[in-house]
Symmetry: D3
Subunit: 252 residues, 6 copies
Amino acid sequence: MTSADQTTASGAPRHDGRAPDQLRPVSITRNWLDHAEGSVLVEFGRTRVLCAASVTEGVPRWRKGSGLGWVTAEYAMLPRATHDRSDRESVKGRIGGRTHEISRLIGRAVRAVVDYKALGENTIVLDCDVLQADGGTRTAAITGAYVALEDAVAWLKERGSVKARQEVLTGSVCAVSVGIVDGRPLLDLCYEEDVRAETDMNVVCTGDGRFVEVQGTAEGAPFDRKELGALLDLAEQGCVDLTALQRKALGR
Amino acid sequence: MTSADQTTASGAPRHDGRAPDQLRPVSITRNWLDHAEGSVLVEFGRTRVLCAASVTEGVPRWRKGSGLGWVTAEYAMLPRATHDRSDRESVKGRIGGRTHEISRLIGRAVRAVVDYKALGENTIVLDCDVLQADGGTRTAAITGAYVALEDAVAWLKERGSVKARQEVLTGSVCAVSVGIVDGRPLLDLCYEEDVRAETDMNVVCTGDGRFVEVQGTAEGAPFDRKELGALLDLAEQGCVDLTALQRKALGR
Amino acid sequence: MTSADQTTASGAPRHDGRAPDQLRPVSITRNWLDHAEGSVLVEFGRTRVLCAASVTEGVPRWRKGSGLGWVTAEYAMLPRATHDRSDRESVKGRIGGRTHEISRLIGRAVRAVVDYKALGENTIVLDCDVLQADGGTRTAAITGAYVALEDAVAWLKERGSVKARQEVLTGSVCAVSVGIVDGRPLLDLCYEEDVRAETDMNVVCTGDGRFVEVQGTAEGAPFDRKELGALLDLAEQGCVDLTALQRKALGR
Amino acid sequence: MTSADQTTASGAPRHDGRAPDQLRPVSITRNWLDHAEGSVLVEFGRTRVLCAASVTEGVPRWRKGSGLGWVTAEYAMLPRATHDRSDRESVKGRIGGRTHEISRLIGRAVRAVVDYKALGENTIVLDCDVLQADGGTRTAAITGAYVALEDAVAWLKERGSVKARQEVLTGSVCAVSVGIVDGRPLLDLCYEEDVRAETDMNVVCTGDGRFVEVQGTAEGAPFDRKELGALLDLAEQGCVDLTALQRKALGR
Amino acid sequence: MTSADQTTASGAPRHDGRAPDQLRPVSITRNWLDHAEGSVLVEFGRTRVLCAASVTEGVPRWRKGSGLGWVTAEYAMLPRATHDRSDRESVKGRIGGRTHEISRLIGRAVRAVVDYKALGENTIVLDCDVLQADGGTRTAAITGAYVALEDAVAWLKERGSVKARQEVLTGSVCAVSVGIVDGRPLLDLCYEEDVRAETDMNVVCTGDGRFVEVQGTAEGAPFDRKELGALLDLAEQGCVDLTALQRKALGR
Amino acid sequence: MTSADQTTASGAPRHDGRAPDQLRPVSITRNWLDHAEGSVLVEFGRTRVLCAASVTEGVPRWRKGSGLGWVTAEYAMLPRATHDRSDRESVKGRIGGRTHEISRLIGRAVRAVVDYKALGENTIVLDCDVLQADGGTRTAAITGAYVALEDAVAWLKERGSVKARQEVLTGSVCAVSVGIVDGRPLLDLCYEEDVRAETDMNVVCTGDGRFVEVQGTAEGAPFDRKELGALLDLAEQGCVDLTALQRKALGR
């Protein structure tokens, strides 16, 4: 994953010694929970997200009788996942905009590879709870949630709720953040880099290298078409690496 | 704004007769309200958004004493803006994820061109209320909110709260949606096109053609780098047209 | 509508030149929205309320199988309808007492002329959203909502959901405010008069001149029976004028 | 309080034997609570409302430094005050429109006789909790709240927080319901009469016979000016009787 | 109920003259409400709780078709039950932890003596509303709720909804508080004693002297096994006395 | 920790092979998080609770200027901690009674050993998030929270915010559940045992063997004094074992 050339080209290594196009150490631990039909503890460096896939028979009321399944996601953060403690959303009595937004993003990302017909009238909820945050929690969550989803689908097949030959998942999905920090495009930003980034982008890709979601935001100065291109190059490569790690974790 | 060539190239005209790279009729009516410091009724075809800029002296507590101003935005929809009536968020007692997400997007978009130091310790709230929705409500909101913001800044200068020579706004900002519908990249989707789009993208640009925000989502099949490029081309041109319309509305 | 005698009798004209028993310029614009089954932009001077009637088949659960229809109303104000911006009730997470109270009043007012049996098991929701407030928002809302209701009933008849000969509406309904300002009874108070009123009364009348609702409140000194009588006289006349304007708007 | 003539004139006595212009047995018990600065258990027949006046030094933030006091009221109903149990508003997490409306009415009623300057920067909250409901809970609440307010003011004077010679209360206030039932105007409706009333009116009067609030609603057919007059006659007389009972309870 | 010996042994009498093992004057008034199927005003000294039992046919959804009944309880406090006024939970929009906890305790306590099968598919809700608080509100509530429950069951039998010979209640239940104050174990603490208690315990017993619930908390120093024993002794005796008072109130 | 005698005495071993007075395997992992001032992952068998101690300078408003510190706790469960997924309290918009109750219990438990004066005006929040639940989550949370609290106090001392010689903690605290299952008193119930328990008790002890909290509930038949004694015996011994494990984890 290292890239000696680029490091040379763009000068000093990152504060943790990574090359600009290098992911943090990624770890994907399956079956971290005993009760969930699929569960993954995913780590991108110090970012640690617990992804649990819960299967229930049946679908929400508005989808009943359609023969189609449903997949949804919920993202949340423990109060002390961050440097300073944040108040619980359950205590505040309302979910913040950021939480909503990321839950919706994860849901769209994983749904992009689900064949609802093959899933049948089953619902899978993907809970992504951030135990520790150090940048990239939403991309780690998507990357881990996909693996938990695979295990939940396997569970459905073992139980015979879905036919073994059905391809419920039409591909894999993963995500990574990229950004421009001090004028330099970097892959997989940690918190320290994230707060300093002029432009910040989250990219969700399928295993075959196409885009499911591209979300770029100028935090400082607006960015031009060329910078956008450089970020997309980095993100595409990062997703190739993450796809390989997902496959390895799944024993393929 | 029309593009005879492209229409030819890509076959049939759109259901409302537009060329693929053609905006809907855009109307920007300033001073639609009597009380607000800036107000704009912006129309993108049948989409109609009322943008009100409210100025208050002072800033939120966390920013007091910094010498810096603050700009924020709130987006909402009247219950019968849509084809079918939707329940009021005030009645439901909570704001939906979509509302939160769009409010945050509008806020980031307009803040990209604000010089907080020049604004001084004043707060401007931009309320974007959708009176009628026919696709592209968030992009119309951003385009109108910028014009209302200009008027609010002018009001501050007239009153002497901000020095007349200060450049509070470092540029202009506008936004447009693009998408791939039936395999064809289209500019400024109306509702009917939006629900059929395979890929849907919202692009926020500054008046000098750089990106503030790029949000692309695969609604159907994932999209590749080439399709992404075609959509960005369309969006850049649409924003050039919208910038011209904003300038005209502001009498420049 | 003017009343030279009374103006003479009670001295100086009002700050906007009106006679004591004179309505502000009233405008009733039908079909202001494209999607709603009935919609009216009603203006009482600078007060501007958008009234949308939404029809749905069926009735709430507690009324199912009764053969009777249902009509209800919701009132709300855009945050910058007023001189100073007010916080959104959706953001606060709860609806204020004033909003509740006015929604209930509008609902009772329009229900007074509905024959539920003739309506059949259909529901009509009347959304009254104040775009700009300058006193009398609730009375403008009732006056406009009735016209939107007429159009929604016509829509039901065109579609054949209600028989063309059925009289769903047993009459018309409109409303006006009256008050005692500087010891003088005045019709249709604007905001400036409203805040100075010693007594403030909202009166809802049917087109044939009977009362649906009378709500009088002493804001300053209590009022006596004679003052009450003078206010009712003014209100009755105002409602005669408003009824004529409603009929004209409906093309009768 | 009985009126043999009217009973004769209007035919059959009411189901509880009362004349049309006769109040139910009214009982006003002071000092029903040990902790509150003023407290009254007021009964209008089977309607039973506990009114507690709580004094705190100081006023809400928006009134600080004005030298003026503040008086407010909150109305609520125990879940089993009614024939069928109703859900608690604390459990539902929101206050219903009816509760809000009545709380606001009680507040306006008692404030009509308060001299804020004489009260000084003290706040009095009047809690009116309905222990049992049989029609007329809001009018009983106002009638009792006034007496509790008197005791709270006396408490302030005893403590020396308000000068003994200050007239904090400029008069007394009470309230009664009237309505047209089976075509006949009746005073002080119990629940059974209330649900059958074609027109329902709540009237708040000062001790010297002027109006603080008049709220008349057509529940069935609209009402005309003559009927309105008959109801006001009844209400005025009922308030004379209630004022006498309040005076007696206060030992005057 | 007095115990001269113990008073002697432990020195000075309590501030209200009671012996350490003496209950406050207890009063149980049945049928305090006209509408409820069972209702009791229970007083432990100045603590006054209104307990209303509401019967409805049927059970919650999750229990339908089981043939079993359901009993639940809700506890609340009027805002001026306490020395200082507290805000209404309905106004705050959420129920506090203490309220929840006590509601759950009362529910468990009364359910301990209910035979759901004998009750059949009926639901009884026990509303315990504290009108005045002077310590021991939860124990008074349980003691009163049981008596109201008895009356509600009798009502069901009279109506024939439950067979007369069925034993719906397998026993009686009551509760009392005990605590260590100034090193001395005391029965039935009033507020003044409660705030000074080092250890505070609530004990729920059946009429035959067994425990349904024991909740002891060290407010100051932790307590040892011997102190725990002394408190349980006191509580057991207190419950014997309360059981006798319940029986007497029920005419047994 | 095993007790061959008792196993023999009370017949068959437990389904997981434990003796009646045997704890599940307990694991206490310190510093599980990088950001928190103290953090512990505590495991009682398959029950897994993450306890994070967050230090902030200063105290809540009501305690300012007192010179005293403050310690509080919040308990929550991840949605898929349990066998079946439960809805998030943040999504429901309100915290359930059980959550409130356990948060309050943990807070009281740890506060029992805090010397607020020695802590000075610092606040420590103890977040106890259940990652996986298999019975005894509240007792595991208390046991782990104490260790995290120790580490947070050490952090304060290292930073010099508290003097090194100050004894902020007056002792240690831990907790365990006991219950009667199939007539047999058992220590440290797992979920399967917990649902079958006739009586269920949670006991919080200090390291020197005194009680901070005793909460016993009859789930089935009421329990007598002798059974209570047997449960307390078990709990006392369990707490001795847990205290030793806490000391070991802290390297004492």
